[in-house]
Amino acid sequence: MPTVNPTRMELTRLKVKLATATRGHKLLKDKRDELMRQFLDLVRVNKTLREKVEQELQDANKNFVLARSTMSSEAVEVAFMAPKQEVSVDVDTKNVMSVDIPQFTTHTRTSDANDIYSYGFAFTSSDLDDAVQSLAELQDDMLKLAEVEKSCQLMAAEIEKTRRRVNALEHVMIPEYQKNIKYITMKLDENERSTQIRLMKVKDMMLEDKHHYKEKLEEPVTE
């Protein structure tokens, strides 16, 4: 049996709690549904973007392998020793249903974003230029991928948490409150009935004392 005091005060308290829980459950459920909707949209973007980036990276890698095959590794090392370009990222956050997701914007050090060749063209193979070029084209997509993928991960975590809360409210808290409320109501009703009966009994006894109905009933009719 539940361990609650069957009192009116406890009943009022539980009713308030139940109302809050029900309201919270509804809100969290809405949150979960909306998060899920946005997550599914985002994850589809994530999937196509990733497939694209992976494909293009593989093509770029092929170019790099080609470049490596015609140049000594020292020459490659020298070519990339002093990069001209430098990229920094600004991180803004966007709030989606209480999940903070990052928004990246890049800044390049030199004003021309295409200023990527950190070497003279004399001693390097043209494959290397192609390779670097293909990577540079990919850079925006890769950053977008980072943004989207991180957002997906964060939202997935939040959805999982919200779903747990919804389930806990729906299957544990709310039924528990309802059970307790029912128990207290029954108990109070029971008490009321027994008080009623006791009063009736007492009234009976008092009337009996006064008027002696029983004796009168048992008395033989004389006339």
């Binding site: 999937k47 993928e149 997935a156």
Partner: protein, 105 residues
Amino acid sequence: MYKIAVMGDKDSIYGFAALGLDTFPFTDPVAAGRKMRELAENNYAVIYITEALADKLTAEIDHYREQMLPAIILIPGVSGNTGKGIQSVKKSVEQAVGSDIIFNN
């Protein structure tokens, strides 16, 4: 101001240096894991890591999964695509939905 890092074996990542990303060539997972923690604490917003290296650093990567920064993104290296990257997207879906409803074809 945040920066972008690239980790992995040298052949897969050296080209990124030309774009102005910071490259950290590693093949030893222990040293790479240490470096990753260091980068995460030092204003790196995005860390690209090759799938081959990420394979040995699953614990570290999962640790940063639910933090806003850094975003650790798997990329295929020269050794080819192992499918680990798409696997991590799959994992998000499974975590959120309970079962995989995007990739089940």
